[in-house]
């Protein structure tokens, strides 16, 4: 598992270096590799598939514009997720300024961490995840769903690795408590 992650990270680094050199195929491969995980992460912020798709394009434009800020040999994923988060937060800020609210039927479409899958059905877990504060959702998504280490999560969110770990632990505990309350433990 760790070897797979290491190999994937090395592949991303090679693609990113090729992309910086102007290789179009490397950009395509990078897009293909990152599209789904980035969409999942963006859902944590906007909880709407259409908006997430739009933000994904904006994220790739921002990645393109900032591609020289990637320092070769450093992990690609913290760099990419930090840019994605920046784009999502800018969007939320401008939406707040415009006082836009999403329609209720558009809420929520949050992926479920594998650790939680055995606790209840997906629909129930999604509803429960949606009730968590966004920082907790973010840590759960980045660590449990997208497989980033707590250190990488800390670098993306601007918190200590220990804080990320504590947030994740508390979020999982809160979810377990909710499941237990509803008597839905399988």
């Amino acid at each position: 598992m760790a070897a797979d992650r290491q190999a994937e990270e090395e592949r991303l680094i090679a693609l990113m270096i090729g992309y910086q050199k102007g290789n179009t195929d490397d950009f395509s491969a990078l897009y293909a590799a990152l599209k789904q995980p980035l969409l999942r992460y963006l859902w944590t912020f906007v909880r709407n598939a259409t908006v997430a798709e739009d933000l994904l394009q904006e994220t790739f434009l921002q990645i393109h514009r900032a591609r020289r800020t990637y320092i070769p040999s450093r992990p690609v994923r913290p760099w990419v997720y930090a840019i994605t988060r920046h784009v999502a937060l800018m969007h939320l800020r401008s939406r707040r300024r415009r006082k836009e609210v999403l329609a209720n039927e558009e809420l929520p479409e949050i992926p479920v961490p594998p650790e939680m899958e055995k606790l209840a059905d997906h629909a129930t877990l999604r509803k429960m995840l949606a009730t968590l504060p966004r920082p907790a959702q973010e840590v759960l998504t980045l660590h449990h769903l997208l497989g980033l280490s707590f250190e990488e999560v800390g670098q993306i969110l601007g918190i200590a690795a220990g804080t990320a770990k504590v947030r994740s632990h508390r979020a999982l505990k809160a979810l377990r408590a909710q499941v237990a309350d509803k008597g839905e433990v399988t």
């Binding site: 910086q20 921002q62 514009r65 320092i71 913290p78 930090a82 840019i83 601007g158």
Partner: protein, 230 residues
């Protein structure tokens, strides 16, 4: 380019602008660039202001004069390095660490000021205190400007996802670097003068860096994403 996954408008935008780029230098190498600008700027300003060492240098022990100034220079450049690191996405420092580092930088200046006053209290300022204070603050700000401008230029030409924090660290770095020089040249040890005007200048420079970050953030928010060639 394989186009099956990529939306057409995104693909076109990328293809239009897909030219090789040179990656940014790592933060520590960019800090060396700022150090060079700082050295040249401070040397030029010392020549322009015709600044001499403070008259009571012989009363202050070496560790407190040259020693503490050297330490402040190193701390200032380290803060600049952290600002440049903060300008790279995915390299964010924990907010608590940022708060602790900037507070320590200010406290260090205060402690050095107090220690210097204990060794060489100097005359108590009564007349002309305001004019002297304003003069010192102007001097401090001028000394910090080369570092501040070089740091913020490099920070905002990367992608600081927490621009106010990067600006704050840059402002703190410039302020501490400038204070390292001022400590050697300001002839006044009076604590009121040091704490009001020199610490004030330091806090002001940090505020300027932070405000520059906020302005940069707002500018980014207003501007739709554009390609350099577009």
């Amino acid at each position: 380019m394989s186009t099956e996954f990529i939306p057409e408008n995104l693909r076109q935008a990328i293809v239009r602008d897909l030219r090789p780029v040179r990656p940014l230098l790592p933060p520590w190498q960019r800090t060396l660039v700022v150090a060079a600008v700082t050295s040249a700027g401070i040397a030029a300003l010392l020549a322009v202001f015709k600044t001499a060492l403070r008259p009571d240098m012989s009363e202050i022990p070496m560790w407190l004069s040259w020693g503490c100034s050297s330490l402040q220079l190193l701390v200032g450049l380290a803060l600049v390095g952290l600002a440049l690191r903060e300008s790279i996405p995915g390299s964010a420092l924990p907010s608590g660490v940022v708060a602790a580092i900037t507070t320590t930088a200010v406290l260090m200046q205060v402690v050095i000021g107090i220690a210097t006053w204990l060794y060489s209290p100097g005359p108590v300022l009564s007349s002309g205190a305001l004019a002297k204070g304003v003069g010192c603050m102007t001097h401090d700000t001028a000394m910090a400007l080369p570092t501040l401008i070089a740091t913020l230029w490099l920070v905002f030409h990367a992608l600081p996802v927490r621009a106010p924090i990067a600006g704050l660290l840059g402002g703190a770095g410039a302020a501490v670097t400038a204070d390292a020089i001022t400590h050697l040249v300001c002839p006044m040890s009076d604590l009121r003068h040091v704490l009001v005007w020199h610490t004030g200048a330091m806090l002001g420079l940090m505020l300027i860096g932070w405000a520059a970050g906020i302005l940069w953030d707002r500018r980014q928010q207003r501007q739709p994403l554009q390609f350099e060639d577009a």
